[in-house]
């Protein structure tokens, strides 16, 4: 390929405007608007709860990012910018519904009642899981991109066989829509008409690759090819996300099968703390999206409509600070797991090789400590990794 002299690389600019099909109930300026297909009536109390969720979730995220920078976590994938998409959809669920997350659904975990300390525990390297999926009705964080979409459809097939009216929601990103498993999950969900909501947070970036590298049509329109509805919602509008997700979940309960919800949003931070977004995106996009902040618009609406005053905002602020202090303290106090625990639960039933290797490892480790004049252990002990990890 010949490059014309003087040519410059085309600047990648992502879409800021979600287009005419975007469902919105609260403008970036905090103005309440209506939509012919989706509306929602919320009390002042309910609105204040949503605001509190958004603020606390962001505070957890900020604290976790700081903890990573200080070496307390190996990695953290920030959710900043996506609070409304996660809180709006998370609060649309009934307790017995089941949610399947990626690795960035800190806001969904919050809505499912999972203590953020469990998320810190995962990213500190204490555990690969961290909570009881059956108790919280939240699947474990799934790192391989898109795998969980099939799990969600299978779980929904189980619900169909159990005959309950529960529904499943599964989270994934714009990058994941290129994965075979995500497309296979659309096929299975469609032909079996399973009660599942595919919730795609289109945050415009798959690490460094912009949306245009994943698709030539808006993602919500992919659904029509699979035979179920697709909706694009303002992912920074917690009211619209709540309304659209509730409707999609209701359709699932009513036997109408799957829906694809594309929450049009923006990843304000890095992909993870190991990423450097200044290498691939322009400041102007960030500035444009800052004006669409998911929290500010709710705050404006609450203030302007008289549903909350500065004293309320101050209370939430104080609560968020206290939460951050508590998480910081408890995160730093998390004990490393025992060496023996790596052999726990590999299998549900006894396995001779596991027991042999566990015993040999413990005997080996004991040889360093229990013998006078025994060998000194030269290699390192377990500490959280601090070196950048390029991919995930």
């Amino acid at each position: 390929m010949t490059v014309p002299k003087g040519a410059t690389r085309r600047e990648v600019r992502v879409a800021v405007d979600g287009g005419p099909d975007l469902v919105q109930l609260l403008t970036p300026e905090g103005e309440r608007v209506t939509h012919p297909d989706y509306d929602i009536e919320l009390s002042a109390d309910e609105l204040r709860v949503l605001y509190r969720d958004l603020v606390l979730v962001r505070r957890v995220d900020v604290e976790a990012t700081a903890l990573q920078r200080q070496g307390e976590l190996g990695l953290w994938p920030p959710l900043q910018g996506q609070e409304a998409a996660q809180v709006g959809s998370g609060r649309a669920l009934r307790p017995t519904d089941f949610a399947f997350p990626t690795y960035r659904e800190h806001g969904v975990a919050w809505c499912r009642g999972v203590d953020p300390l469990n998320l810190l525990s995962l990213y500190r390297g204490i555990t690969n899981g961290g909570w009881d999926p059956d108790a919280s009705h939240l699947g474990l964080y799934t790192i391989v991109i898109g795998d969980q979409c099939l799990h969600a459809v299978g779980y929904a097939m189980g619900i169909q066989r159990d005959g309950t009216d529960d529904a499943v929601i599964v989270y994934f990103g714009d990058g994941a829509t290129s994965q075979g498993d995500v497309n296979e999950s659309f096929v299975f969900a469609s032909v079996f008409n399973t009660p599942v909501v595919f919730f795609c947070q289109n945050n415009q970036w798959a690490i460094s690759e912009p949306l245009e590298r994943q698709t030539r049509i808006p993602l919500y329109r992919r659904a029509s090819g699979f035979g179920f509805p697709g909706i694009r919602v303002d992912g920074n509008d917690v009211l619209a996300v709540l309304a659209v997700t509730r409707a999609a979940l209701q359709a699932a309960r009513d036997g109408e099968g799957p829906t694809l919800v594309e929450a049009f949003t923006y990843r304000m931070g890095a992909h993870t703390t190991s990423d450097d977004p200044t290498r691939y995106r322009v400041e102007a996009d960030l500035e444009a999206w800052k004006l669409k902040d998911p929290i500010e618009r709710v705050k404006s609406y609450l203030a302007r409509s008289g549903m909350a005053d500065s004293a309320y905002f101050a209370t939430v602020e104080e609560e968020s600070e206290a939460l951050a202090v508590r998480l910081r303290r408890e995160c730093r106090a998390l004990a490393d797991p025992s060496v023996s625990s790596m052999f726990d639960h590999v299998y549900a039933e006894p396995h001779p090789l596991i027991e042999e290797e566990r015993e040999a490892t413990l005997t080996y480790l004991a040889s360093f400590t229990h013998h006078e004049g025994g060998p000194e252990r030269l290699s390192g002990t377990s500490t959280p990794p601090t070196a950048p990890v390029e991919a995930f």
Partner: protein, 331 residues
């Protein structure tokens, strides 16, 4: 006594499992009306309905990935992969999700499922229909891998695998599907009481004092035939049907090798980094002073499975097993 083929024994086992436990589901391509391309699920959809015997879309990762979700919901899916060479699209789900979910959830979430794979060559098939991928799965912690070699084992082991709370990759020797054997009439009721520990035990299927042949699945018959020929030549070969590839029942092999002093491992899979490599390493470590000769391996080559006109030269047959035996005695 009923005389049945391995294929029929597997069909009977699936029927018994479906009757015994309402959480058992069968999933796969063409397993409904057609009864599977090898007819292993013949008649089951008719009797148990299409909610329990599910014809899936043609997507292997989709089959295993949805089975993960069903297992999380408390079901016990039994997935059929149509041919060995078609399992690779599901490899990610098997290795990153099925194998690791129990550990990831600290034991809270069971991944009780069976992945049935007809494997091995010898049926004159086109490419991707004759492979032996068992080592990939045996290499992955969290999976169990077993392979029956006869109708009775097929009948019992499949039910034990379905009852197991761990994921089990069930390798079915496809060129032996039509081999016949006896199953006691009253065994259907007895299987439930069977100790699951038996599933992961090797078995000495022919005693001998001069050399040990370790094999599994389709090569068990080959090795038994080799032992018969060797007997005529004055050599008593002990044949061990490993049955389980993960865990491997090392003790049964050790105890045999300590008596015979010689071991030849036989499998269709390529010998390079195959099950035979692990057995050779372990036996060398644990039976070093009993060995009269190095552990030898007879198996497939480090080449893609060849066009079927060449497969007789790729598969370890009677002569190649006996050649391995001769080489062991020559040292």
């Amino acid at each position: 006594m009923a005389v049945v083929t391995i294929a029929k024994a597997l069909n009977n086992a699936l029927r018994a499992a479906l009757e015994h436990d309402p959480r058992v589901l069968l999933m796969g391509e063409d397993i409904g009306k057609l009864g599977g391309v090898f007819r292993i699920t013949d008649g089951l959809q008719k009797d148990f309905g299409d909610d329990r015997v599910i014809d899936t879309p043609l997507a292997e990762s989709g089959i295993i990935g949805t089975a993960v979700g069903l297992a999380m919901r408390g079901y016990r899916p039994v997935c059929e992969i149509q041919f060995d060479g078609f399992v690779y699209p599901a490899f990610d789900q098997i290795v990153t999700q099925v194998a690791k979910h129990h550990a990831r959830s600290a034991g809270r979430t069971s991944m009780a499922m069976v992945i049935r794979i007809p494997f091995g060559g010898g049926i004159g098939a086109v490419e991707h229909h004759s492979e032996s991928p068992e080592a990939y799965f045996a290499h992955t912690a969290g999976l169990r891998v077993v392979s029956p070699s006869n109708p009775l084992d097929a009948f019992v082991m499949l039910q034990q695998a379905i009852a197991c709370d761990d994921p089990v990759v069930f390798m079915e020797p496809k060129r032996r599907y039509w081999d016949k054997g006896e199953i006691p009439e009253d065994l259907v009721a007895a299987v439930d009481a069977h100790s699951r520990g038996d599933l992961f035990r090797a078995r000495v299927v022919r005693p001998g004092r001069d050399l040990t042949l370790a094999c599994y699945g389709p090569t068990v018959r080959t090795c038994l035939e080799a032992a018969t020929v060797a007997e005529g030549e004055g050599r008593e070969l002990e044949v061990i049907d490993l049955r389980s590839l993960s865990p491997l029942d090392f003790e049964t092999v050790y105890s045999s090798v300590r008596r015979t002093g010689r071991l030849v491992v036989v499998h269709e899979a390529p010998v390079f980094l195959g099950l035979g490599s692990e057995l050779a390493a372990r036996v060398t470590e644990r039976c070093f002073y009993s060995l009269e000769a190095p552990v030898l391996r007879v198996g497939g080559f480090h080449a893609p499975y060849p066009p079927s006109r060449l497969e007789d030269d790729y598969l370890p047959d009677l002569d190649r097993v006996l050649d391995g035996v001769d080489r062991s005695f020559a040292t």
